[in-house]
């Protein structure tokens, strides 16, 4: 059944039509890189930076913890290898902040799924991989900010390390390692269909921080330390502190990071696949 109006525009499909009409398909290219672009990245970053709660938990709390535990204590200036205990605690709190930030960044997908935004995005050329990439990138930027804030606090207080390069090295390791938690956040974001996923994850993250010895140093060989070796913050924490402590890097530290990263990335990929099939 065709109306006269439709017949008229059938003809116009192959001829010229003003602006909003039938389009020139040669202009219609699929965007490169699955739709990744600077505008998207900038708006996503602004969203995070404008979120007061995120700013408090990612930037203010870790710095406050550093001042609380790392500054002006009797042990602050004790020797911790190539620097003092203040520096050790600075690294710990930077790791804690990076963990909260990157997990929260990844877990944003839960909120966006709950709000139906990911369904809206399916009506655009943005590929699921590009979407996840942006989420991880924003999470990592937030993680880096978190580390930098704590380190700047450390530089202006009593955190001492023998060489400026030790600051750079420990920060770089902490940041790279926090990729594990970006993947963790992503996995949880796809697993938990909740708008308040961070409220669920918060207490769990605190426990993982203990597993990494971020709040209370782990005593080598103790029962808790042996248990902690199997928790996800352990490997990163050991590796990030190693340039300061001068400890020899153990294979199980690296194995810890690699295995947890594989688990979280695999889990996120598995859930992502289920998600794109359904939506």
């Amino acid at each position: 059944m065709t109306t006269s109006a439709s017949t008229a525009s059938t003809a116009s499909a192959t001829t010229s039509v003003p602006a909003a009409g039938v389009v020139d398909r040669s202009l219609r290219k699929v965007p490169p890189m699955g739709g990744l672009n600077r505008t998207l990245a900038w708006i996503e970053l602004k969203r995070v930076l404008r979120n007061r709660r995120t700013m408090i938990f990612s930037l203010v709390v870790p710095a406050a913890f550093y001042f609380l535990f790392g500054v002006g204590q009797t042990y602050t200036n004790d020797n911790a290898g190539r620097g003092n205990v203040g520096a050790f605690i600075m690294i710990s709190m930077a790791l804690y902040g990076a963990m909260i930030s990157t997990t929260g960044g990844g877990a944003m997908v839960a909120t966006e799924r709950a709000q139906g935004w990911s369904r809206q995005l399916r009506l655009t050329p943005l590929s699921p991989i590009a979407y996840v990439t942006i989420k991880v990138a924003v999470a990592m930027v937030l993680g880096l900010l978190s580390i930098l804030v704590v380190y700047i606090c450390g530089l202006f207080t009593h955190a001492k390390m023998d060489s400026p390069w030790l600051f750079v090295a420990t920060a770089a390791i902490a940041w790279a390692g926090s990729l594990v938690f970006a993947a963790f956040g992503l996995f949880m974001g796809y697993l938990l269909p909740s708008e308040n996923v961070m409220q669920i994850l918060g207490p769990g993250l605190a426990l993982l921080a203990f597993g990494g010895g971020l709040f209370i140093p782990l005593t080598d060989g103790s029962a808790f330390e042996i248990f902690a070796r199997f928790t996800p913050m352990y490997g990163i924490s050991k590796l990030a502190h190693a340039p300061l402590t001068g400890d020899t890097v153990q294979w199980w530290w690296v194995a810890n990071v690699v295995v947890w990263l594989a688990i979280f990335v695999g889990g996120a990929a598995w859930r992502l696949r289920g998600d794109t099939d359904r939506v």
Binding site: M1, T2, T3, A5, S6, T7, A8, S9, T10, S12, A13, V17, P18, A19, A20, G21, V22, V23, R25, L27, R28, K29, V30, P31, G35, N37, R38, T39, L40, I43, K46, R47, R50, N51, E112, Q115, G116, W117, R119, Q120, L121, R122, L123, T124, P125, L126, D277, R278, V279
Partner: protein
């Protein structure tokens, strides 16, 4: 149960098509498949000769979906900038805001926008890629009268430019007022397909009710060829026709019929008649 079973549709470029049916008729399921949001269990969907995902990636198809959400923490303008950045070929943010009538709320956070404003934002987002086909799923649900009027005014203005528009609705008046062509669906099947006036013709006419013992469908059919349908309930006959005067004249002069009544049948009745089923009306809801 299948929500949709075999809908074959060809829609011409530039048509404004209403997909009309009661809740649970399979409208959203069909639209989801057309947009590649879900896969048919059997068969295939192509739109503009392409797979749904490809057509979307090329910006040829856009949709305003009932179920799709918006980010609440960014402004109207940012939402459009973000969406626009994902396509290779886009209209300007300012122009789509103007066309959707949301220029004055450009800097408002989405969470502060009313339902109608959010819906017009979705419409503006759909216009960004300047699509050939625009799909609207229950676009005015939850809007007040004014919001609905503004929304359709914006759509109508846009449709004048040759875009194909397919909208799902369960509001009869909307389909009647805005569509060139109405497709009535029930339980995942097309029950009627025609221009608004053709659908109206189907539902126009009146029903003659009379008591006529011993009547048979066959005899009445041959006697009153203008009858669209003849129903016999015991001694009562119900004849639906566009020419009820002729039917009444026949019954009163040629037969022993008595207690004759003529009742008008509205478009609402026709809609109900066309879209409800005798056997499956109850089980249908579970299909969705």
């Amino acid at each position: 149960m299948h929500a949709v079973r075999g809908i074959d549709l060809d829609i011409e470029p530039g048509e404004i098509v209403a997909f009309l049916g009661p809740n649970g008729a399979g409208k959203t399921t069909t639209i989801d498949m057309v947009l590649g949001l879900s896969q048919p269990t059997a068969g295939e969907v192509t739109i503009l000769g392409e797979a749904p995902r490809t057509a979307i990636a090329h910006g040829l198809v856009a949709a305003v979906m009932q179920t799709a959400g918006l980010l609440k923490d960014i402004s109207v303008r940012e939402t459009l900038q973000l969406t626009g950045s994902l396509f290779t070929h886009t209209a300007s943010v300012d122009s789509v805001m103007k066309r959707a009538g949301i220029t004055e709320i450009a800097d408002r956070k989405v969470q502060k926008c009313s339902g109608g404003q959010q819906q017009r934002l979705r419409f503006a987002m759909a216009l960004l890629s300047d699509p050939e086909v625009l799909v609207l799923d229950e676009p005015t649900t939850g809007m007040d009268v004014e919001g609905r009027r503004d929304f359709w005014a914006a759509i109508r203005q846009d449709a004048g430019k040759g875009r194909t528009i397919v909208f799902a609705t369960h509001y009869l008046e909307e389909a009647d007022a805005y569509a060139d062509r109405i497709i009535l669906v029930r339980q995942g099947e097309i029950v009627a397909d025609g221009t608004a006036s053709e659908i109206k013709a189907m539902s126009a006419g009146r029903t003659v009710r009379a008591t006529l013992p011993g009547a048979t469908t066959e005899s009445l059919q041959s006697a009153v060829p203008s009858a669209d349908s003849i129903e016999i309930r015991g001694e009562t006959v119900l004849i639906h026709s566009n020419d009820t005067d002729a039917v009444a004249r026949y019954l009163l002069t040629e037969t022993t019929a008595h207690d004759l009544e003529i009742e008008a049948r509205g478009i609402e009745d026709a809609f109900i008649a066309l879209t409800s089923s005798h056997t499956e009306a109850q089980t249908e809801e579970s299909a969705r």
